[in-house]
């Protein structure tokens, strides 16, 4: 347990005074993600530890440098978990990185994303002030929801010090069933199932098979399984864990790996490359060397957005371009939180 808040604040203030922009680091498990940037490295790794955890309050508060695996094993001891199943691309992945990147795992469509679990935050803004927003209660509408704004902002708005997350009980039973289907049939089938009251907690289509995880009470899951049929997957726990942490062989590609966010029932995309489909169609991973502009054009036509998640080339725009008033608002917010552009400049977009 180590509270480094004041020392971090001191470093930030010094860097601000000397006009030295910073890049925030911790476990370095996501170095492949987002634009490479320069700047004074500011590591929050030593600011770790669980501050408060009372299982019956369904909330955990921990410092940003806390390793995800430590946090998750603490929760598991009490038969609880983070509902959004955070991906951890290495054992060094931290809670702060998880919040800053805002990435959620297979359970997201059914149990909410990182931002949904985010209840409160303590942070350092771009003027070196320590601020506290939200709290540890489930419902809190006092002031603007800065805790959730910070989720997925890639450290461009400030340094996350501590965060409070909503937690949930682990389901009593989980069973995965699978079917051999074409892509088109899989998208249609999975969306029909998700529109009915089945206890689905994850879905994946790997190109040949649709995997469907059911979670809940033993009787509830078994009853649904009877109705849904399919073949039960053995060793399902490691299947979903590998998928979440991108150890699945699909992610071994050296091509650009895209994360496409779409309407779930969007029909198969006419893009060259391999795809792996999660979130009943709403999150599609694509490995492709096709021209990024063409890919984004297709995704735009479907009303989605596309991120080059991994293996981006040097001049690639990693995040889906934004323009006009939306771009202006991003700039304004960046300046509202970090007026001198001290943090992670250009991590997400040019100019902020």
């Amino acid at each position: 347990m180590s509270d480094q808040s004041l020392s971090l604040q001191q470093q930030v203030k010094e860097n601000i005074e000397r006009g030295r922009p910073m890049q925030i680091t911790a476990g370095n498990s996501k170095l492949f993600y987002a634009h490479e940037i320069s700047g004074e490295a500011l590591s929050v790794k030593e600011h770790f530890g669980i501050i408060d955890y009372e299982p019956t309050e369904l909330v955990i508060t921990a410092r940003c440098g806390t390793r995800l695996q430590d946090l998750e094993s603490t929760l598991a001891e009490q038969n609880q978990m983070l509902a959004f199943e955070p991906p951890a691309y290495s054992k060094h992945a931290t809670l702060g990185g998880c919040i800053a990147a805002g990435l959620s795992g297979p359970r997201r469509p059914f149990a909410g994303a990182v931002r949904d679990a985010s209840l409160g935050i303590r942070m350092i803004n771009g003027t070196g002030e320590i601020l506290k927003f939200g709290g540890t209660v489930m419902k809190n509408v006092a002031g603007y929801d800065v805790s959730r704004l910070m989720v997925g902002s890639m450290g461009t708005l400030g340094i996350i010090l501590d965060t409070s997350l909503k937690i949930v009980p682990r389901p009593e039973t989980e069973i995965t069933t699978c079917y051999e289907l074409t892509e088109r049939a899989s998208i249609s089938r999975v969306n029909k199932i998700c529109a009915q009251a089945y206890p689905v907690s994850a879905t994946c289509f790997d190109g040949t098979q649709l995997f469907l995880r059911l979670s809940g009470t033993e009787s509830g899951v078994n009853k649904s399984l009877d109705m849904l049929g399919g073949e039960t997957l053995k060793d399902a726990t490691s299947f979903w864990k590998d998928l979440k942490n991108q150890r699945h062989s699909f992610f071994n590609s050296t091509k650009r790996i895209w994360r496409l966010s779409l309407k779930p029932a969007t029909p198969p995309l006419e893009i060259m490359g391999e795809q792996l489909i999660e979130w009943h169609g709403a999150q599609r991973w694509l490995t492709s060397d096709q021209n990024p502009e063409i890919i984004r054009e297709i995704i735009n036509q479907h009303g989605g957005h596309a991120i080059i998640f991994k293996n981006a080339k040097e001049d690639d725009l990693v995040f889906h371009p934004i323009s006009g008033i939306l771009h202006q608002l991003h700039m304004n917010l960046k300046l509202a939180m970090d007026p001198k552009c001290m943090f992670n400049l250009y991590r997400m977009y040019e100019g902020f």
Binding site: P55, T56, E57, L58, V59, R108, A113, R115, D116, I130, L131, K132, F133, G135, V137, M138, K139, N140, V141, A142, G143, Y144, D145, V146, R148, L149, V151, G152, S153, L157, V168, P169, R170, E172, A195, Q196, A197, P199, T217, S219, K223, S261, L262, K263, P264, A265, W279, Q283, G303, G304, H305, P321, I325, L326, L329, H330, N332, L333, A336, M337
Partner: protein, 522 residues
Amino acid sequence: MTYTHATCIDKSPLVVLSSHSGYDLRMAIYKGPVNRNGISKESLVHSLKLILPKEAVLFDSEDTRPYECDGLSAYRVNPWVVALPETIEQIQAIMRICFAHEVPVIARGAGTGLSGGALPRENCLLLSLAKFKTILDVDPINCTARVEPGVTNLAISDAAKPHGLYYAPDPSSQIACTIGGNVAENSGGIHCLKYGLTVNNVQQITIVMVDGELVTFGGSGYDGPGYDLLALFNGSEGMLGIVVEITVKLLPIPEHARLLLAAFDDIEQAGKAVTAIIAAGLIPAGLEMMDNLAIQAAEDFAMVGYPIQAAAILLCELDGNTDEVTEQIKRVKKIMRKHQASNIRISETEQERLQLWRGRKSAFPAIGRLAPDYYCMDGTIPRKQLSTVLKKISELSKKFDLPVANVFHAGDGNLHPLILYDANKRGELKRTEMFGALILEYCVEVGGAITGEHGVGIEKMDQMCVQFGQLELQQFHAIKAAFDPAGLLNPGKVVPTLHRCAELGRMHVHNGQLPHPELERF
């Protein structure tokens, strides 16, 4: 009878503001600098009539009177002008006019809000979204509905029902409150513990900005590009923009739901039972508590068979497939027994389930019959603090000589104490407000928040000084300015000025330092 949250304090009399010293300060500060806009009322009306049908512009004080307050009806200001547009283009044109002439704009849905978020101010334009009542699209395959902001919360679920779907957040005012207002307030409801608040159930929104520009936040899937402006906008109380279109997530209607009612002779045992249910790994669809005064009032009103002798009752709803619910109901029953529940009733039919809910859902108007007026509070607390907080409320109740009934969203720690008073008795509203303020401040003290679902509006501006320090408030002002640099949208609400907090002497002491020593103290 139909019931809306708006009835919460509807019985408050029309108040002549200046005669009640209790809220002079609040109103005076709220009004702020008057008449910044250089445009006359006549020319504003003239400009609006060029873009709107004649009947869509109200300016006679008699015509604008219905818009003088929202559900917090103790505060009333007759708006300068009311505009009732029908299209997004009209809203954009209205905003351009107001932006050019620096006329403040206050958006309003159904006016059921309980914190004065839609309270007009002098020389403002009140923008009613009442005509935006169209459900544009229900997409049963992607499980979404695209709706206009004036659509009521319940209408969405009604439209989705033929597809076996529904919209989960269900504020008690759901038959009247609009989805646009729900987004502005990040409304909750009885089922939030399991299904989340508005922010967790909205996928995309289209906003008209203060200068009339149109922008979309969120995405067609589960997320959008860039920062999560969708999350920031939810609960922003009309301060950042005007929401003109909303895509909500729909959920499959659970196959089965049952409600268990348990009575307790000791309120502390009821609180412990709540904790035990959560500790057992159960997440009920709803978990509500009522204290004795609330039980008696509800039973008198709804006659649903609540045990009127009980110190507290718990209402616990489980949903899912039939086998799952049957199993979980058994477990909950066992827990309630273990915590000395004196009486347990389980709904056997859908009709009985709804009947048992009816008592809880009519609690507010029922309590309203116990006194000429009541004031509804909205604090949140860590569940474990429940008995401490209830004890404190009961002490304060004696001290202020005002009875309190407690209704509690026990599952998510959201407490609604209802203070009974008589506004016709001199000074009683003022005393009630002081009492309410102390309850909210105590919620902060035990680690909770001043508002769980009703919003800050003008009502809890002073408590914002308790909840936050000057640095956080400054950050809020900066965020507001990122959207609305001239401060024209719902001005003077939600985030108090530092000066105001200093005047109230309620500012947080941050890191042992007295906040903003540069300001004079009064």
